[in-house]
């Protein structure tokens, strides 16, 4: 059986074209790709980079659970979830979620579910590094 799920936490830049190609190989009718990027300007402060940290083993286990939940809710052909950790420059992709399905509606819904649950539950944290050298952990969500 071919691999249909890719879940990864990586220090490297995310190779979006490779992920998109992997999703397209499912030969469904829809590929939905969400790319979360690091924001340079928040209110009036300039962020030069973000520093991401994770509890890796738990984060991967929680991502597995979220993907399994999505596969129960929607007829997913292929799915990718890749999150970067370490230093990520402003404007770069920090997270990519992709879903391949037969039709567009379920790919949109599943993609939205995956990113929303990731942000609520997966033990990953980001710290803003500002232009003036200040750093600050981003206020988070309590996993329920």
């Amino acid at each position: 059986m071919s691999i249909t799920v890719q879940i990864k936490i990586t220090e490297d830049r995310i190779a979006i074209p490779d992920l998109e190609a992997f999703l397209r190989e499912a030969e469904g009718g829809a590929v939905n790709l969400f790319v979360g990027t690091t924001r340079r300007v928040t209110e009036d402060r300039i962020t030069v980079e973000l520093s991401y940290e994770c509890a890796r083993e738990l984060a991967l286990a929680e991502l597995d659970r979220i993907v399994s939940e999505a596969k129960v809710k929607w007829p997913i052909l292929r799915v990718v979830v890749v999150h970067r950790v370490g230093t990520v420059g402003a404007g770069e992709a920090s997270v990519v979620i992709g879903v391949a399905t037969a039709h567009r509606v379920e790919s949109f819904e599943a993609c939205r579910f995956l990113i929303d649950e990731l942000k609520k539950r997966v033990p990953i944290w980001k710290k803003e590094v500002y232009e003036d050298g200040d750093t600050e952990w981003v206020t988070g969500n309590s996993p329920s």
């Binding site: 994770c54 738990l58 990731l118 942000k119 609520k120 944290w125 988070g140």
Partner: protein, 81 residues
């Protein structure tokens, strides 16, 4: 019994540690452990109250009894994405 407690993100910064040991009574629950952590770091009691506890596989309830010699992860509010 002894537990190893792991700190992450802001909690790692304020304690200056990624993990440390706690000596707790047998049958200790997650809530009891969090009280012990707050007592060691009274200035950060509010932060400790905001964490979820977990093992390396899943979040666990504050009411659950912790296993002797286990490792407990303190997970502050998450901010991935």
């Amino acid at each position: 019994m002894t537990l190893t407690v792991e700190y992450y993100a802001i909690l790692k910064d304020v304690t200056g540690l990624s993990s440390e040991s706690f000596e707790v009574p047998d049958g200790c629950t997650g809530s009891t452990l969090l009280v012990a952590v707050s007592e060691r770091y009274p200035k950060h009691a509010g932060l400790v109250a905001s964490v979820r506890i977990a093992n390396s596989e899943s979040y666990i309830s504050n009411e659950s009894t912790l296993e002797p010699d286990s490792t407990v992860l303190l997970i502050p509010p998450v901010s991935g994405g």
